[in-house]
Structures are given as C-alpha cells and as structure tokens.
C-alpha cells in the first residue's frame, strides 16, 4: 500500500534552504549560520522522524510517497521527481539526518573562527541534501542525481582548505575516482532501462522495475555488475577505494560525515535497495561478496601499520564497508544495513573523537607524538573507548550484534561459504587489534608530544563533546535497535538459522583477543612492535606504504592516461582538429577567391549573364 503525502519533500527542502541561506546571507551573518546550519538538519530529522513514526503505525509494507513533479517526458519514457519512504529509506534518512545533525553541531565548535565558516556549512548542508535525495528517490534517475550530488560535495569538502595543494589534489582524486565508478553506474542504468524499454516498459521507477524484473533474464548479471562498479567508487571498495584514505585532507567532521552518514553508505544502500535485482544474478552477488571480503581484509591489514590517527580510521572504514558488501553478497541484506547503521554511530564517534584529539593537540595527527591524553581529555577518552569497543565487536556494544550477523551469514547464509566466514573472523580480529592500538597509542602510556604542545592540551568545548556523548550512547546501545526486523517488509525475510552459542563466544573471543594483543604489544611490551617490524622488514614496509597501490595505479592507469592525453595534444589535436578547422577556412577562402572574379562591377557583364540565363530558360521551355 502506498500513501501519497507532501511531507517528504520537506526532509530535502529544509537542508536545501540552509544552502541558500549560507550562500546568500551567510557571509554577512556568521552568527546566524551556526544556528541555521545544524538547526535545519535537525528540523529535517524531526520531519523524517515524524514520517517514520507514521509509517510504523501503518500495516507492514506500507510506503509513503510524495510526487513532486513530472521531470522528463520523452515519448513513452517518463521520469518523475518522486520521493518514497519505506522502512529501508526511513532507516537511512534517520541515520543521515540524525548523525548528520550531530556532526553539524560538532562542526560549530570545530570550525569556529574559520574564514570559510558560511561556505563550510553551505557545503555540509548541500551534502546532506544530496544524500537525502539519493536515499528518498523513488526512481534510479533521481537516485543518480543524489549520487552525483554527494560526489560533488565530497570534492568541495575534501578540498575545503584548497590553499594547500595536497588538499586540492585529494579532492580532485576523490572526484575523478568516483567519476570512474559513476560511469559504470550510468552504463548499468542505461542497460537496464534499454532492456526493459525494448519490452515496452519505459521506466526508471524502482517499484515498476521490480515488478518486471523477470523480463531482464540474463541481462541482470551485467546490469548488477555495472551498478556494483558504481558502488565500488562511492563506497570505496577494491579497486576504487584509493580516494577514501586521502579524503581525510578535509576538516575532520567532514571525514566523519563522509565515512559515517553520507557518501560511502550510498553504494551499500543502492545494492540493498536493488537486492531483488541482485537475487536474479547470483554471479554478481558472488562478485560482491568476494570483493567485499577482499577489501575488508586488505584495508584491515593496511590499518594495522598506519601512524596517522585519521588514516587508521579511514582504512577502518574501507574495511567495515567491505564487511557490509560481504553481507550483501551472501544475501544478508538486513544485516548489512544493520551494520551500516551501527557503523554510522561508532565511526562518526571515532572520527569526531579523533577530531577532538587533533583539536586539543593543535593539529597533530601523528599517533607517535600522542599518548597519555586520558587525564587531559576525559570525555573524549571515555567516548572513544566506547567507539573502540563497539567497532571491535565486544558484547554488548552495537558492533557486536551487527558484525556478528554478517559473519554468521557468511558461514550459513543462502550464498555463504565457510571460507568467507573465516576471513570475516580474521577481519574482526584485525579490526579489534588496530582500533585497540589507536586507543592505546593516543590515550595511554607516556605523553610523547613536544614540550610546547604539551602545555596547551585541553578538552574540547561542550558543543563538541556533547555530540560525542550522544553518539557514544548510540554506539553502545545501537545494537538493540531491531533494524533487520524493521526492514523485513522491504527486503524480505532471510532464511537463516539463529547463530549458535559458539558463534557468540568465538566472536567475543576474537574481539577481546585483538584488543588484548594491542594491549600486550603497546602497553606491556612496548619494545615488541619495533622488533616485529624489523623481523618482517620488507613486508612491514609494504603494509606501511599501503601495498603501494597508489604507486601501482600511478605507473599503470595514470601514466597510460597521461600518455594518451599527450598523444592527443601533440599529434591528434594539431593534425585532426586544427586541420579540420583551418581546412574549412582555407576551403571557403579558395571558393570565394574563385567566385569573386565573377563580380567585375561592369554592368555589361551582368547584362550578358542575364542574356545567357534568359536563353537557358528559353531553351528549357522550348525543349521540354
């Protein structure tokens, strides 16, 4: 059952209004920006909350729909601007606006006094707007609008401090890498619409496509794979994950927003939204699962050897997203979205906590110059600890429940395999290890900060610690949200046995083991990590250098593209393009040079041409 309402458009319109405000009034009214920016996102959250509670009291499977206007009519093809709120998009909209709101509030403190304060909030609100369009769109074309919108905003925000060339470069990298993924998404969309169109079903509406999905037949596999290429770009999976670790060039709250609430969740959401399409293409699902678990493992290994606090968290996000794709790939859509939600809580918490640490240390990001911050920053320490326990999967913190479901589905799900489950356990162990390492290096032990910094270490203001506290509550208790049960009307019931007790025990042991190892290596025996690193000399360097994937891309893809561009610029451009342009000019000059002689200015020549013309006409009429 679908109920029409005009409520939904306000969820998107409110942050969009904020963008207009910041752009046109913001620079002259910085004092108002810090109320309007977070306030409108909070209002959007309230509207989404109202709509979601309306949805809850209705029978299961009900959806709210808001038809804003008809966008494109071209022959039999129609595209509407329509919004749809069902259980899945409601969960997503609440995460985007809720976590987004907290990040907005935190940003007021973090960006205090920045020259681009109004510009920052304009981008931040635009980011939220684009993500909400993506989440609420009832058709794939409108979803793509949001999809591109978050790509643009990530570019703007990662390169926010564009005076530094490496920040601008990071923004550009994010944009270009996403562009590759978007091309795949667009091709998948074209193939889908065209295939259905040839059967007389010209539509981009998700529900209509769902009803006619069986028409696709074997085309479902390439469609799903192409759409998944788009997801690897947005959600930072192999081979297109390289932009996310560099995305930390932006202000830290932006990283939190990108990593938790918006952007990277887009790919997971898209596949969850189209799970019935992927169910028609088991081969594509297998690819999703394998890419997911590979990325999860790969990024987790890299994260163990990073020294930059934000970089550890960035690879952690890549790794956790890999787990979500593993969940999607083995058919546990509900578990994947569940993990998306809990991850949004604890990853936003960890990033904002890291931001608080960086803020307190005057911009220091290297964990080798941190340590012993616990007495100085008690709130940050406690909340970060909660976030660490949550991401490590220690019961009863939220990460335990969601990750446990994915791991169990990898073992026993409809498309699962034991090897996937074992790898997921390895990832869990590494996750616990590197987050434990992060916590220990930052807050415990001796303070390794330089003397002049040490005097200024301070806890962040309440406007920053309050969001941390709220997120900590959710990171702790988010596991009890019955997300998979809420989603069941949308994504269907996944038939799987309840995870047995040994699963719980093993998962807890793995989590505690990882944390314990970090404790042993960095608290009890601080001499060991260096020794191990020396023993594994070559491999350690390889991991520390992120497996040199950027260098690999540089040597292959980028050099190839530059070579092609060089050939175009030096050979094809002068010969073909300039040749065509100059040739056209020369041709016209030659023709006019010849025909100019006809115009002598002598009336008698003209008279002669009259005569010839008259005779020709006469001849024509006589001979006819």
């Amino acid at each position: 059952m679908v109920i029409e309402t005009t409520l939904l458009r306000w969820i998107i319109a409110l942050p969009a209004l904020g963008v207009l405000f910041h752009v046109f009034v913001g620079r002259r009214a910085t004092g108002a920006v810090k109320w309007v920016g977070p306030g409108l996102v909070g209002a959007a959250f309230a509207v989404a909350r109202a709509a979601a509670s309306g949805l809850r009291v209705m029978p299961a499977g009900t959806a709210l729909h808001d038809h804003v206007y008809t966008w494109i009519v071209a022959g039999p093809f129609r595209a509407e601007v329509g919004l749809r709120l069902d259980a899945l998009s409601a969960v997503m909209a609440l995460v985007v606006t809720g976590v987004g709101f907290l990040i907005h509030v935190y940003s007021v403190g973090y960006m205090h006094g920045d020259r681009g304060f109004a510009r920052y909030f304009a981008y931040l609100n635009l980011f939220t707007t684009a993500m909400l369009i993506l989440v609420l769109a009832d058709n794939l074309l409108l979803l793509f609008v949001g999809w591109e919108g978050v790509g643009l905003c990530s570019y703007l925000l990662i390169g926010f401090w564009y005076e530094k060339p490496e920040n601008a470069a990071a923004g550009k990298k994010a944009f270009l890498v996403n562009r590759i993924g978007d091309a795949g998404f667009l091709l998948g969309l074209f193939l889908l619409v065209w295939t259905l169109g040839r059967q007389g079903i010209w539509t981009v509406d998700i529900e209509t496509i769902r009803q006619h999905a069986d028409v696709l037949g074997a085309v479902a596999v390439p469609v799903c794979l192409l759409l998944f290429v788009g997801a690897t770009g947005k959600s930072a999976q192999i081979p297109l994950y390289v932009w996310l670790p560099d995305a930390m060039a932006g202000p830290t709250p932006v990283s939190a927003l990108i990593h938790a609430a918006t952007m990277v969740t887009a790919g997971v959401y898209m596949i969850a939204r189209l799970h019935w399409l992927y169910a028609l293409a088991p081969a594509a699902l297998a690819v999703v699962a394998v890419i997911g678990v590979t990325t999860a493992l790969f990024a987790a290994v890299i994260a163990t050897a990073q020294v930059d606090i934000k970089r550890v968290l960035a690879y952690s996000t890549v790794s956790q997203l890999g787990l979500m794709f593993l969940g999607l790939g083995v058919g546990a859509t509900g578990a994947a979205v569940f993990h998306l939600v809990t991850h949004a809580f604890f990853k936003a918490l960890l990033f904002l906590g890291a931001g608080s640490v960086i803020h307190g240390l005057g911009g220091e990001q290297d964990m080798r110059r941190m340590g012993g911050l616990r007495p100085h920053m008690p709130v940050t320490f406690v909340t970060m600890t909660v976030g660490t326990l949550a991401i490590a999967g220690v019961p009863p913190f939220s990460g335990f429940f969601s990750k446990d479901e994915i791991v169990w589905a990898a073992f026993s799900g409809p498309h699962g395999a034991p090897v996937l489950g074992v790898l997921a356990f390895v990832v869990s162990f590494l996750t616990a290890y590197y987050t434990g390492r992060l916590l220990v290096l930052t807050f415990l032990g001796e303070c390794r900060a330089p003397e002049d910094v040490r005097h200024h270490i301070h806890e962040s203001p309440a406007v920053m610690t309050l969001p941390l506290a709220v997120l900590a509550v959710f990171a702790f208790a988010g596991g009890w949200l019955p997300v998979p049960a809420i989603l069941e009307p949308v994504i269907g019931v996944t038939e799987e046995a309840e995870a047995p007790l040994w699963m719980f025990t093993l998962a807890s042991a793995v989590a505690l083991g990882g944390l314990g190892l970090a404790g042993v290596l960095y608290v009890a025996r601080p001499d060991l990590p260096g020794a191990i690193a020396r023993r594994l000399d070559g491999f350690y360097a390889l991991v520390r250098d992120k497996f040199r994937v950027d260098e690999l891309y540089d040597a292959t893809v980028i050099r190839l593209v530059f070579a092609a561009a060089d050939v175009s610029a030096r050979r094809i451009d002068p010969a073909l393009i300039d040749g065509a342009i100059n040739g056209t000019g020369l041709l016209v000059a030659a023709i006019s040079g010849a025909s100019r002689r006809l115009q002598t200015g002598n009336v008698q020549h003209y008279a002669l041409s009259f005569l010839v013309g008259a005779l020709v006409l006469l001849g024509y009429w006589v001979m006819r």
Binding site: T600, G601, N602, V603, Q604
Partner: protein, 102 residues
Amino acid sequence: MGPTPLGWYLALSAVLFAIGVLGVLVRRNVIIIFMAIEIMLNAVNLAFVAIARSRGSMDGQVIVFFVMTVAAAEAAVGLAIILAMFRNRETTNADELATLRW
C-alpha cells in the same frame, strides 16, 4: 494587296530586339546602351500591337500604353542617373564605371 502578314511584324520585332541586345552588350557609351534598351522596349511594343491587331483584341494595345508610360518614366530617371554619374566621373564609358561607389 491584302494586309501585311503577322510574320513580317514579328520578324521586324525580333530583329529590332536583337539589335537592342547587341547594343547593350557591345557598346561602351552608357547613353547608347540606354538607347539600345529603348529599342528593345519598342521591339516588344511592336510585337504586342501586331498580335493584338491580328487577333482583334485590345489587350495587347493597352499593355503597350503601359509600357510607353513606364518607358517615359524610366527615360527620365535613367537620364538623370547618367547625368549625375557624368558630373561625378566625367565619363560615360561603361568600362570606367565598374566600381559601384559614388
């Protein structure tokens, strides 16, 4: 001796027209060219009158009056142009009047 046959008139008309065409094409003096144009007009007039008379219709004769009226106006305008050109360029040679300025 009966009336002169139509063919004779038409032949005379054609000869006059040809003389006019040749005059326009080969002579250099604009006044002569102008006169040649008048010959062509009158050659056509002759053909109109002859045909009208042989068919017993007045239409052709009426057209001739129109042509004569227009020719008179044309002569006035044309001679004025030639005069103006002569005053500016001091020539009536068509070859020297090849630039379409002043």
